[in-house]
Symmetry: C2
Subunit: 353 residues, 2 copies
């Protein structure tokens, strides 16, 4: 099973710096909310579930050394940190979900002495880690039933252990199928330009887990599907709308179109924390655009003509009709998603929401 990516020890917060993988495996300590904002922004920690946890820890770091004798009360520092950390990245809803949990806690216990309130924040962040592990393992076990021994799974970007506290979402399905169910599974990993999370992270963690992985460029996915080499696509998600449209790393949409073209089932591993029932469809999901230099340069080498115009969206939206099923911690759900997604939350479908 994969290693931990973000955790605390005696109130100190550590994370595996994913920008340095696979060349270097380095754990760094994050000591302030500002450092955490930067770490999220720079993708030292990334993956929707992991950045939710990172944001919660970021709030803890903002108040860790505060006291009720300071000019700004702890309660206010928490609110400030939540607002600040929410600006680190716009697309993954887990960031807002985690910060909302912290805010609700602060609302509920805001009258407590600052020292106790601080402890509640740290406890909540640590609880998110524990919950994330349980959620990922449940997703893995539900999803593993969709795979048979000998299957080859194509995945895009990294929805592995490195995208969560430890176990992954899409790759938890593969890990559980292999380690729990004893199936033979191979993986095709799209390298995932521009930041190469597929080659740097997915290939790396699968090799660590001794699961056979073949690295391809993003533009080869169609070719391997056309050769009949892919039995299922499994990806993660940064935000699922109430109708099942979902955002994930740029390129996911193209993979979904190709999967349908080749009658390959297309699964989305989605913890409930990544489902945003407040938005009716994918058109409402904000899409982060990132620095053109991510495409124009690579580790300091100029790849394209200086000054070239670039479009660099970090995510795309895949419409729900391309999704065979969502794999959640509460089980696998199928269309019609405008009914099955709200049911996950034990709420009736809100026709007028």
């Amino acid at each position: 099973m994969p290693e931990k990516t973000i955790w605390s020890e005696d109130g100190r917060v550590f994370l595996l710096d994913q920008t340095l993988l696979p060349s270097q495996r380095k754990v760094i300590e994050i000591t302030t909310a500002g450092e955490m904002w930067q770490a999220i922004r720079a993708l030292r920690v990334r993956g929707a579930p992991a950045i939710g946890i990172a944001a919660a820890y970021g709030v803890w770091l903002a108040v860790k050394n505060a006291s009720d004798f300071d000019s700004i009360p702890v309660r206010q520092l928490i609110e400030n940190a939540c607002s600040y950390l929410a600006t680190a990245r716009p697309t993954a809803v887990n960031l807002f979900w985690a910060l909302d949990r912290i805010r609700r806690l602060a609302d509920e216990y805001g009258e407590m002495p600052g020292e106790k309130l601080k402890r509640l924040i740290l406890d909540e962040a640590e609880r998110m880690v524990a919950e994330d592990n349980a959620v990922c393992l449940a997703i893995g076990q539900h999803g593993a039933k969709l795979l048979k021994s000998g299957d080859r799974v194509l995945t895009h970007c990294n929805a592995g252990g490195l995208a969560t506290a430890q176990y992954g979402t899409a790759l938890a399905v593969v890990y559980c199928a292999v380690e729990h169910d004893g199936k033979q599974i191979e993986v095709f990993a799209d390298e995932t330009r521009p930041l190469l999370q597929g080659s740097r992270l997915t290939a790396w963690e699968l090799m660590q887990a001794k699961i056979p992985v073949t690295l391809i460029c993003d533009n080869m996915a169609g070719s391997v599907m056309r050769r009949g080499w892919v039995n299922a696509v499994i990806v993660g998600t940064d935000r699922v709308a109430r109708n099942g449209d979902f955002a994930n790393k740029i390129g996911t949409y193209g993979v979904a179109v190709l999967a349908r073209e080749h009658n390959v089932p297309f699964y989305v591993a989605a913890p409930l924390s990544s489902i945003d029932v407040s938005i009716p469809d994918g058109d409402r999901i904000p899409i982060e655009e990132r620095d053109p230099e991510e495409i124009v340069q690579m580790m300091g080498t100029q790849l394209a003509p200086p000054g070239v115009r670039v479009f660099n969206p970090a995510f795309d939206v895949t419409p729900h009709d391309l999704v065979t099923a969502f794999i959640t911690e509460k089980g696998v759900i199928y269309p019609p998603y405008d009914r099955t997604i709200p049911e996950l939350f034990d709420a009736p479908m809100a026709a007028n929401a």
Copy 2:
């Protein structure tokens, strides 16, 4: 209009080293058939039409300093050079087409004195340059009629001037629409992993020509189409089968599937020299697989875990039913290709070929 990519002066052969673009614009002299083989293999000269011309010049270099007083006659040197140069790359049919032209010439005039035969080879290579220019301009003019002012064209890899002697195939259409017809055209250039011909070459030559170009990663093509930003896709080809299936740079197939998904016309700029009527369909096109290091490393930087398994096909085959039309020097042809392609060669459809 673009600059020359491969040419001769007083029997000396020069080419623009495309592996150094866009950082460095360097013309190198190629002095032997062995150097030309390496230059083709290493993609210093690339693009189906250009490597045909390069191969013809390679034969010239093999015999340039030979004489009838040598132990191996000029006629035999030509045959040896043709066999040797044909092994440089397997997919683009233009390589074989050009070498076949040289072989036929040698067959016809094999009894001539070596000095005269040598001169015929050089003349033939130079004729191919002149013909290529005429063919590319004709493709450009026929294709330009398919575009209207304001159109945005998406292209993959480089089928521009850099892929031919000078004017390009897919990009000749854009150049003619802009410079000849006065239309406003913008281009989306897929960067085209792993070797980035889109960012290094297509973006560069379009910027040189002052045609607005936006660089995207390959996995963003679906996203820009879904946003309604693309009016046409135009690509080149390395080999077209008799039924219209065609090979082109890896990733072309995925772009074609996405184009159909979004009702975007998908055009293939195809000189007759790239059409191989000897094969019935795309399954017979050999697909070159290249060094895994092309994906795993970038300019010496390790991008993926050392030892990772890689699949690196240089081309894919797109089935004919995804092609809206082929743009050839004889005009634009539409389905059914198993009739319209053979008609290009003024030959009846060979039902039993």
